[in-house]
């Protein structure tokens, strides 16, 4: 406990200092507060990130995650502009002679004549202290071309600089040289541990249910912690407060339906969205026919489907209180079973069955309560549960039946792993005056890890059938953090976000602690361009053990333990940001140091190693990542999109891998380019195109062989030819590049909007390698082959909005 207080001490000191500063009677006496919510006029949806800007003092704030804003200004009459991207701004003249509450409703679409002069809108990239954060409007993402017509949010993020994909079709995110477990994926504030459907080809995020999405790659504010590389915030729609609305989409992969509307008009609303694939249903008659036509008595039945359901209820209890409940559940089920019946000599009938299965389940729930204590103070209390379970297994059974007996045998092996969290969190927003915006809070999480166990069942007719559990037992851990941050105007040109995040974790009788200072600076140059810099330390107490060669969800979530130290990182970034007309431009350079990284040792495997504990199979090491990122983004207008370029390096070093030498991380990618264009052709037609290019993935391939020998205890000599790689990830696959295009036709019939989306994935049919393998060709010569999985793929989807 004393350790905990030692960690807390600097944080409390900083908080006290901030309180003294913010409560300074001089400042407090001079300012009054305008507060309230910013919401969509039609639906009542809270507009998080909407900006409230005092044009005469050039001071502004952004609405928080719940649409709440609090702007404190000196006494007097001030011009206030409320704006949000894609909405007509509103201008007010407000007399700051007392605290005011004002809820603002913005109308979607920018009306002619209402355009606000550039510079009046707070929230331009150069105004924000936060750097390395990118928001992409969901509507822009929905228009992007997609495999099978199924829009994927994570794949859209992969098009941003500093964010890379794990390979062809993969939804995995590799941010600034980090691994996927280093991304904190928050769905309505709840961490999600597995975000993949269909072996990673799709993410679990259903675009129809999502209101907003933002990714932070560095310069992390103190309110975030627990991961090293990025924070992905995805917020679900709250539900329409006025009337029932819906979206239905049918694509060649899946269908989905979203409904939202009021439970009590302007008081409570709901949103529910469900999606399911139907390849299994479509193929069922085909396999029935195949099984019928086979000469053999056996049948084969494959299966694959995934589904997910998002739901949310939003209750505006009164002017000061709101309650939200959100839930997500997703399941993937893959497998095949065989059945065979035949007669054999002696009048015996043999019935054999086998089944192979692989499934994973994700589920999160969150209950939140917003409360406005006073115009300057807002709080949010959150209770959450997050659950992830992965199972794979194989079962064989046979039964031999004679006239009077049946003898049966059965073998089953089931491998499972998972993680379950329960968490409680409280966050405060406090805006004491025009110069400070303070956030502070605390979080406690209980984790229960099941890091992989194999259950074996054997029944060969013996007296006691075997049912035994091999492998790791559950591990429980508790982690908690407290934080405080202040966004402060130090001078008219220099603004900063200064914070401290203190975290600790208790596991297996051991306590780890971490103090993480955070700093972000924004200095406005005389030209208006922002010069930004940031520093952040992060610590991570959960790890994903992954076989780098596999894209399967067989990865294990494991905690830091008494033997496994937490992962830690520090990152510095500097950059320039400015807006030119409708274009936001940013250029950032970063360096990230990593420690405590966890990896399987050479030769280790999560399977076929039943007697070894996972901790015996892993090794810890260090890493670094550095690079340069450029982004030019246009969010509005008839033509929108972005151009991104990343030049980066990412390296790893483990004592038990690659003979302890540095090697390039599997997803080290020197060049990464993306070009995204959405264009309104006019009338009912719009089009999108995406072009990406990336340096080939690093790969370990056996490249050479030599002959060695060993002598046994009798003195016998054995020769052996060893085949091995020259180094870890010493080889590169071919570069990745692809063009996707889509054309959307939209018609409005009465109150219904019908869209038909034609899209083509990989339009010029480039072979993009999914994996490479050493094989023999037709003449017996060894060759290296790259396998691609997605050639030119046209698709069509229908969408109905009402």
């Amino acid at each position: 406990m004393s350790h905990f207080f030692r960690i807390l001490q600097p944080l409390l000191t900083l908080a006290a200092a901030l309180c003294v500063l913010c409560w300074s009677p001089k400042i407090a006496a001079q300012s009054f507060t305008l507060s309230g919510h910013v919401q969509d006029a039609a639906s009542g949806e809270q507009l998080l990130g909407a900006t409230v800007w005092c044009s005469d003092l050039s001071i502004g704030v952004a609405a928080n995650t719940y649409g709440f804003y609090s702007l404190s200004l000196p006494e007097g009459e001030h011009q206030v502009v409320v704006s949000y991207i894609g909405y007509t701004p509103q201008r007010f003249s407000v007399l700051f002679d007392q605290d005011h509450k004002m809820n603002v409703e913005l109308v979607a679409g920018t009306a002619l004549g209402e355009a606000v002069v550039t510079g009046e809108i707070f929230g331009h990239i150069e105004e924000q202290v936060q750097m390395s954060k990118i928001e992409v409007p969901i509507e822009q993402i929905k228009r992007l071309p997609a495999i099978g017509g199924e829009v994927d949010l994570l794949k859209a993020l992969q098009l941003l600089p500093g964010v890379q994909s794990g390979g062809e079709g993969s939804s995995g995110l590799y941010v600034r040289g980090g691994s996927p477990d280093q991304n904190l994926m928050l769905l309505d504030g709840v961490p999600l541990y597995s975000v993949n459907h269909l072996f990673g080809f799709f993410s679990v995020f259903n675009a129809d249910a999502v209101k907003s999405m933002a990714i932070t790659k560095g310069g992390f504010p103190a309110r975030f912690g627990g991961r090293l590389s990025s924070i992905l915030e995805i917020n679900l729609k709250d539900g329409h407060m006025k009337e029932i609305h819906g979206d239905a989409t049918v694509s060649i992969i899946a269908s989905k339906l979203t409904l939202e509307g009021p439970i009590i008009k302007d008081k409570a609303s709901f949103m529910v969205s469900a999606r399911r694939t139907y390849l299994d249903i479509l193929l069922r008659p085909l396999f029935a026919r195949i099984n019928q036509n086979e000469n053999s008595s056996g049948t084969v039945e494959p299966r694959y489907y995934f589904y997910d359901i998002n739901g949310k209820v939003n209750w505006k209890v009164n002017d000061r209180d709101r309650v939200f409940f959100s839930t997500f559940s997703g399941t993937d089920d893959f497998g095949f079973s065989t059945h065979d019946t035949y007669d054999q000599s002696g009048g015996q009938t043999v019935n054999t069955e086998s089944d192979f299965g692989l499934d994973w389940v994700n589920s999160v729930q969150a209950l939140r309560w917003n409360h406005e204590w006073q115009p300057k103070l807002f709080s949010n209390v959150t209770l959450t549960r997050s659950y992830y379970r992965f199972n794979t297994g194989i079962e064989f059974s046979d039964a031999v039946t004679t006239a009077d007996t049946t003898i049966s045998e059965r073998f089953a092996a089931l491998y499972r792993s998972g993680i379950e969290d329960y968490a409680a969190q409280i966050d405060f927003d406090y805006a004491p005056n025009a110069s400070h915006y303070v956030k502070f809070g605390a979080k406690w999480t209980h984790h229960r890890f099941s890091p992989g166990a194999t259950q074996l069942e054997l029944d060969f007719g013996q007296s006691n059938p075997i049912d035994t559990l091999l492998g790791a037992m559950d591990v429980n851990s508790n982690d908690s953090y407290v934080y405080v941050e202040d966004e402060v105007a130090l001078t008219p040109r220099l603004r900063a976000n200064i914070g401290l995040h203190a975290s600790m974790m208790h596991v297996q009788g051991k306590t780890y602690g971490s103090l993480q200072p955070r700093l972000a600076l924004n200095f406005r140059l005389p030209t208006g361009t922002a010069l930004k810099a940031s520093y952040a330390r992060m610590a991570q107490y959960v790890n994903l053990l992954t076989n780098e060669g596999l894209g399967l969800p067989t990865d294990l979530w494991v905690p830091s333990t008494a033997k496994i130290r937490p992962q830690k990182s520090w990152q510095v970034a500097v950059g320039l940001a400015d807006t030119f007309g409708e274009f936001e431009l940013s250029l950032e350079g970063y360096y990230k140091g990593l420690d405590g990284l966890l990896s399987y040792k050479d030769g280790a495997s999560f399977m076929f190693n039943l007697e070894t504990d996972w901790e015996e199979q892993v090794t810890q090491g260090i890493g670094n990542a550095y690079g340069l990122e450029f982004l030019a983004q246009k969010k509005m207008g008839r033509t929108s999109g972005w151009v991104g370029y990343t030049l980066s390096w990412s390296n790893r070093k483990f004592d038990a891998i690659n003979n302890g030498a540095w090697y390039p991380f599997t997803y080290d990618r020197r060049h990464d380019v993306s070009l995204v264009v959405n264009h309104e052709l006019g009338g009912k037609w719009s089009t999108s195109a995406v072009w990406v290019y990336g340096t080939g993935r690093a790969l370990t391939l056996s490249e050479l062989m030599y002959t060695t020998f060993f002598v046994d205890e009798q003195g016998n000599i054995y020769e052996e030819e060893i085949t091995l790689p020259s180094g870890k990830n010493a080889f590169r696959m071919s570069p990745y590049h692809r063009l996707d295009v889509s054309i959307v036709q939209t018609k409005t019939i009465k109150n219904m909007k019908r869209s038909v989306i034609f899209s083509v994935y990989n339009a010029y049919n480039n072979l993009n390698p999914f994996f490479a393998n050493l094989e023999e060709n037709n003449t017996g010569q060894p060759v290296i082959r790259e396998y691609g999985i997605f050639p030119f793929l046209p698709s069509i989807a229908w969408r109905l909005s009402f």
Binding site: L458, S463, I466, N547, E548, G549, Y600, K601, G603, A604, S605, F606, M607, D613, N659, L681, G682, G683, K684, W685, E703, L704, M705, Y706, T707, T708, F709, V711, Q714, I717, E719, E721, I722, T723, L724, P725, G727, K728, F731, S734, K747, V760, N762, A763, N765, A772, N777, G780, Q781, P782, V783, R785, Y787, G788, I789, F790, P791, F792, L793, P794
Partner: protein, 320 residues
């Protein structure tokens, strides 16, 4: 309601342009679908392999013979594979002075072998190996001979029994307890081999020692190798002691009448590079054929080449 396609908004296409566009889409689709069904495959160029020397030599204190293998590495695309070289020159230095050399005259049956006239005592001595062969870059390696282990071992017969989880048969267990003296300030590595031989010639050759399998409870100081040897280390334990190492040998019902055997434990101190090599070879063998396994880069302490120069110093502890 009557629907009509826009004429102004979307660029108008002539019938020829439409036909060309449809034809292009169809041909691309067909190409794509065909490749999809066949699996999209692309054969790629492999970096040209530059041959290097691979050396295997393990020197044991008190050994009567030295065995060296030198091969020329080959790329995996080379159907001939690697080539064992005879025409090489290998020099060994002990404590900075020239000790031995092997050349083509010592080559016999893929190995360079050299009988040592008298036992050599190298404990604590740094050794350096240099190998050269025509047309290839010379290679070298250095290592220090570990001190002879100081160890005690005790064998207790039939201390307990367990039920075999698969066969449901009772297995009787003999316990072997080992204390090894660890050295302060350095990481010690030992390999323990349980050996047995027949006492009665009626059962078999009484001169030959056979390696027996040992098991043991989980112990962070112990790695069990595939053939039953135990690799013991105080690595990561500071100056941790290596006392009370416990192992078991198991056998079925003793009433079956086993032949009378003589037991002993061979305890070898290893240079760290030898231990790393053993561990990586263990991982290599274990990963062989497992598609889920991480690739293995077999440890090498040969600079500018591959292979391993290892040193070991053994004692025999009789088990009675």
């Amino acid at each position: 309601m009557k629907y009509s396609y826009p004429t102004q908004a979307f660029p108008a296409l002539t019938s020829l342009q439409s036909a060309l566009a449809i034809g292009l889409i169809c041909s691309l689709s067909l190409t794509g679908c065909e490749e999809f069904l066949e699996g999209v495959v692309h054969e790629i160029d492999f970096p040209e392999h530059v041959p290097a020397l691979a050396v295997t030599l393990t020197i044991e204190e008190d050994a009567q013979i030295l065995r060296l293998m030198v091969s020329k590495t080959a790329g995996v695309l080379d159907p001939q594979g690697s080539e064992v070289l005879s025409d090489v020159l290998a020099n060994l230095e002990a404590n900075g002075t020239s000790w031995l050399s092997l050349d083509a005259d010592d080559f016999n049956g893929d190995l360079h072998s050299l009988a040592l006239d008298a036992p050599v005592h190298l404990a604590g001595m740094p050794l350096r190996l240099e190998v050269e062969a025509e047309g290839l870059d010379p290679v070298s390696a250095e290592s220090t001979m570990p001190e002879k282990p100081v160890a005690l071992a005790e064998l207790e017969f039939a201390v307990d029994s367990i039920m075999h989880p698969w066969t449901e048969e009772f297995m009787v267990r003999d316990r072997i307890t080992v204390d090894i003296e660890a050295h302060d300030g350095v990481e010690d590595w030992f390999i323990l081999e349980l050996q047995s031989r027949f006492l009665d010639p009626m059962w078999g050759d009484t001169a030959t020692w056979w390696l027996e399998y040992m098991g043991g409870p989980p112990d962070p100081r112990v790695n069990t190798l595939r053939r039953g040897e135990m690799l013991v280390s105080d690595q990561g334990l500071g100056d941790g002691d290596l006392n009370q190492l416990t192992f078991f040998k198991e056998y079925l019902d003793p009433d079956w009448g086993y032949p009378e055997m003589e037991w002993r434990l061979r305890i070898s101190a290893l240079s760290e590079s030898s231990a790393q090599y053993l561990l990586s070879m263990e991982a290599y063998e274990q990963a062989d054929g497992n598609p889920f396994a991480e690739p293995v880069i077999v440890y090498s302490n040969i600079s500018s080449g591959f292979g391993h120069f290892g040193l070991r110093n053994s004692v025999i502890v009789e088990l009675e």
